[in-house]
Symmetry: C2
Subunit: 375 residues, 2 copies
Amino acid sequence: MRSRTDPDTDARGTLLVDIKASSELKPGVNLPASGTVSTINDVARLAGVSIKTVSRVMNNEPNVRAETRVKVQEAANLLHYRPNLLARSLAGARSFLIGIFYDNPNPSYINAVQNGAIRRCRESSYHLLIEPQDAHSPDLERNIAGLLATIRLDGVILTPPLCDMAVVLHAVEAAGVPYVRISPFLNPGRSPIVRMDEARATYEMTQHLIAMGHRDIGFVLGHPEHGGTHLRYQGFTKALSEAGITPRPDWVKQGFFSYESGIEAGKSFFAEGKPRPTAIFSSNDYMAFGIMGVAQQMGIRIPEDISICGFDDAPGSILIWPHVTTIRQPVEDIAYAAADILLAKAEVEDADGTKRDTDRMLPFELIKRNSVGPV
Amino acid sequence: MRSRTDPDTDARGTLLVDIKASSELKPGVNLPASGTVSTINDVARLAGVSIKTVSRVMNNEPNVRAETRVKVQEAANLLHYRPNLLARSLAGARSFLIGIFYDNPNPSYINAVQNGAIRRCRESSYHLLIEPQDAHSPDLERNIAGLLATIRLDGVILTPPLCDMAVVLHAVEAAGVPYVRISPFLNPGRSPIVRMDEARATYEMTQHLIAMGHRDIGFVLGHPEHGGTHLRYQGFTKALSEAGITPRPDWVKQGFFSYESGIEAGKSFFAEGKPRPTAIFSSNDYMAFGIMGVAQQMGIRIPEDISICGFDDAPGSILIWPHVTTIRQPVEDIAYAAADILLAKAEVEDADGTKRDTDRMLPFELIKRNSVGPV
DNA sequence: GGATGCCCTGCCAGCGCTGTCAAAAAAGCA
DNA sequence: TGCTTTTTTGACAGCGCTGGCAGGGCATCC
C-alpha cells in the first residue's frame, strides 16, 4: 500500500532548490493519508538519504551534517513518521519498556507508584508494563523468570513486599535485568534503592506529640513482616527516650496495617477501667481510622479526649472527621526516582564515570490536621 | 555464546532411541545455564526439526504430528524456551499487547480496571500497557496517534471520560486499532462497549429508600460532563414518579463528584430553618462522605435523623461511621469483559460467524449498610 | 496403476530497525 | 598541491520470529 518512487536517482542536485533549503526533499513521493503508518524506508526515500542516516537522526546520534538532519526531520514530520518500537527493540539492545512488579492491595499506593514511574518514562519515551504478582504463589519465581525471558525489559521496579523476597530478586538477577527497589527492608546494597526515612518520620511525629504536651502515648505496630513496621517503631521509641519518657509495654499493640486490626487495637486501648494514653500513634492511617471509629462509638472525643495520628496520608484521612494528622510519603516522587535510576543507566550507562547514587532518600512531610490536639 | 552442534545430519535414525520415545532429542547440545535465553533456533536444533515446526508447536497450530509436537515441547522445556514477544510481534500480525487509556483521578477505580484487564490478558498471555492521558491536553489526539503508531497495540480499552471524547475515538479509529469502551455515554454502537445499568441501579436504590418509608428524598447530581450523572438521575426520578412522589426541585443539588461538592450540598440541605428531606441520595460516595461530615458537625444523626446513600462503594465507605449504603459497580469484571472482547476478537476474528456481543451489561450490587434507616 | 488430495514439514523471504564496517566526502596539514 | 586525518554516509547482515509456499509422504479414489 506504500507509495513507490522512481529508482533512486541522485537527489542532491541541490542548486535548483537551494533557495529554500528547507524543501530539499525528493519530489514524486505521495504523502500518506492520515492514519497510515510510514516506515523508516519512506522517510529515507523522501529525504533522499539511506535509512541508516534516518536512524541516526531519529536517535540523535552524532556525525550527521546539520542540513541532512533538518532534511530528514522534515521528511519525518511530513510523513508523521514514528519509529516502530518493536523493530527498534528487536534490532537494538533496548526495549524501551520498563516493568513494575507489585503485590500490594493499596490502590492509592499503586496508583502513585505507577504515575511517578510513568512520568519519568515519558521523558525518555519509554513505556510502562504493569505486572501484578501474587507474592504467595509457589510459581512466583517461575512466573517472573518466564516473563523476563519473553519480554526483554530494560529495567524493573520492585515494590514491597516483593522487593524483600529472595526468589524475586533471584529471578530478576538471573535474567540480567537491572532493577531498583522501592523502600526495601532486607539486603540494602544489593541493588539501587529509593526510599523515605520512615524512622525519622515517626521520630518527628512523636516529637510533635510530645511538644503538644503528651507524655502518655500509645503505639500500634504494623504488620510484622513488613519492613516499615520496625523502622517506624524505632523512631517512636527514640523520640520517647530522648524526652525521658519510658514507654509502657501495655500501650504498644500489635496491628496488621488493616482497618480491622485498628478496631481491635482501639477496643484494647479503650477497655473499661483501664488507664489510657492521651495520644495514640498508629503505624498507618487505616488502623487509625479503626481506632477513631471505636472512639466515636464509645463517645470518646478526638482530639479533646485523645489525640490520634497515623502514617501514609491515605485518601480517607481527609474524608473522616476529624481529619487525620499523618505523614505523607512522597510515593510518586519515589517511583519517579526509581524509574530515573533505571533510565539514566539505560541511557548513559555511567558514561561520566561518576557512579550514580544508589540509595536515594526522599523527604517526607508531616501533615498536621485535626486529630491531634494539646493535652 | 550459544552452543553449536555438528552439521545437521538427519536426526531421525529413530530405531536406536525409540525405546524411550520421550528422549528422541538430538545429542551433543549443551543445555543452557539458568538465566540464559534460548531461541527458537536452539529448540529446533535440539528437537531435530525446523524452526518453523517449533513455531507451529509454540502457537498451537494444527498439522503437526503428535510425536513431533511432544518432541518439540520437551526440547522447549529443557531449554526453558520462551518465545521472544518482540520478534513475534514484528514478524507476525499481533503484538500481544493491549493498552488502556484513562484520565481518572480515582485510584481504586483505575486499580480495579487494571486488575480486571490484566486478569483476562494473562489468560491469553497478553500484556497490559497503561497509558494515562491528560483529557484536557490540546495534544491529546496527537499523543494518542503517536503512541499507536509507535506500538502496534492489538487493542485498546477506553474508560470515562476519554471514552466519550471525539478526538480520542478518532485517533484510535484512524490508527485502525480495535477498541472497547467502558461505560460510555455518547455514541453507543460506535464500538463494543461494556457497562453497568446505572439508571436501573439508582432506580432500585430509590425504591429501597421508599420501601423504608422515605418520601422526602433529596438528590445530589454528579459532574454534568460525566455520562453517569444523567443516567443516575433518570433512575431516581423514574422510581419517584412510579411511587407517585413529585420530586422537589430545591432538593436536587448540583455536585461534581468531589468530597468538597458534597460538603457544599450538605450545607445547602441542612441550612437553618429550611425543611429538609428524610433521605439524601448522593450520586457518588465521595459526595456522600462530604454530606455526612456536615451532618456530623451539625449534630444531625445518621440514619436516625437523616438517611444517606451513595454510589460506587468507594473504599472509604466502610471506613467512616456509619458505613455507607451504596451501589457496587463490578468494575473489575467490566474491565475483564472489555479485555475479553478485544482478545476474543484478536484470537478468533469472528471465526464462528456469530457476531460477538457488542454491548455487555453487567449486574450491579446494592449494598445495604448503616447509613440508611427507616423513617 | 495413476491421479488426486490431504497431512506434515522445511525453505525462504521478510517484519522495521540497529550495529558494524567500509567507502566517500570533507577537513586539516605540510 | 598531495597527503593524512576526521567526519559523514551507506551497504549489508542480522535481531527472532511468522507467513507463504512448495515438496514429500501417504491414503483414497477411480
